[in-house]
């Protein structure tokens, strides 16, 4: 069963136990933990149960690193300063980006001749790491206005006015003409 369906059923039977904010927070943490399971397994005390992985996830700094993985995991200064990140110096590249080994190797293989994605200053492995970190970022909620009924300006105003949770997080999308992206 996919995780999203599992969560839907889990919360469906417990509507009165959680507020919408609690539910959103819990689901956000669950998805983050699932995306970074490979890395957390490496960092956690063995056996790498969810209890041990949660212990390392909850240590100061780790969650923030996982919220901004591209800035944190690829920066030499950040790695040198953080005791958790220092331990990653010995880790294989696929573990750092929390990817299965065979999938990471396939990505490296496919990027070998890709001059468009691989920068002249980086190796194929570094480019594959960069790609994996982009894919492991938290996805943002993006919507498109139905222009038969409204405009995106009007739609954003409605969201801002009626739902506190979306307040001041909505921005117009850069390329799609009718899109709005929420930073949460």
């Amino acid at each position: 069963m996919p995780l999203d369906l599992f969560l839907r059923f889990y919360f469906l039977n417990r509507k009165k136990e959680f507020t919408a904010e609690d539910r959103a927070l819990l689901v956000d943490h669950i998805y983050t933990l699932t995306r970074w399971k490979g890395l957390l397994e490496f960092l956690a005390r063995k056996p790498a149960t969810w209890a041990n992985m949660l212990q390392i996830y909850d240590k100061a700094g780790v969650q923030m690193i996982l919220k901004e993985p591209r800035r944190q995991l690829l920066s030499k200064e950040a790695v040198d300063e953080n005791p958790v990140l220092q331990r990653l110096e010995r880790a294989a590249p696929h573990i750092i980006v929390s990817y299965p080994h065979n999938l990471f190797s396939k990505l490296e293989e496919s990027l070998k001749d890709d001059k468009q994605f691989v920068r002249p200053s980086e190796s194929v492995t570094e480019a594959a790491k960069r790609l994996c970190l982009i894919q492991n970022e938290r996805p943002l909620t993006t919507i498109r206005a139905n222009t038969m009924r409204t405009t995106r300006q009007e739609l954003l105003r409605t969201f801002t006015k009626e739902a506190d949770i979306w307040k001041s997080t909505g921005r117009f999308t850069e390329h799609a003409p009718n899109g709005i992206r929420f930073d949460r």
């Binding site: 069963m1 889990y10 819990l26 956000d28 943490h29 669950i30 699932t34 209890a51 969650q63």
Partner: protein
């Protein structure tokens, strides 16, 4: 230190103890339910290859 922890808690960067228990419970249940599914699929494959 306490203030820093409270600030992180408010931003959702540190899990409340109750939240942590719920998250752990959900993830463990999810793993268990999928382990059952995987086991059932493996048995199905075995049965099919036996036939």
């Amino acid at each position: 230190m306490i203030n820093q922890k409270t600030a992180l808690l408010n931003k959702g960067f540190v899990l409340k103890r109750t939240h942590k228990a719920i998250v752990q419970n959900i993830l463990t249940s999810f793993d268990t339910s999928n382990a059952g599914t995987n086991y059932a699929l493996e048995r199905k494959d075995e049965n099919q290859s036996d036939q």
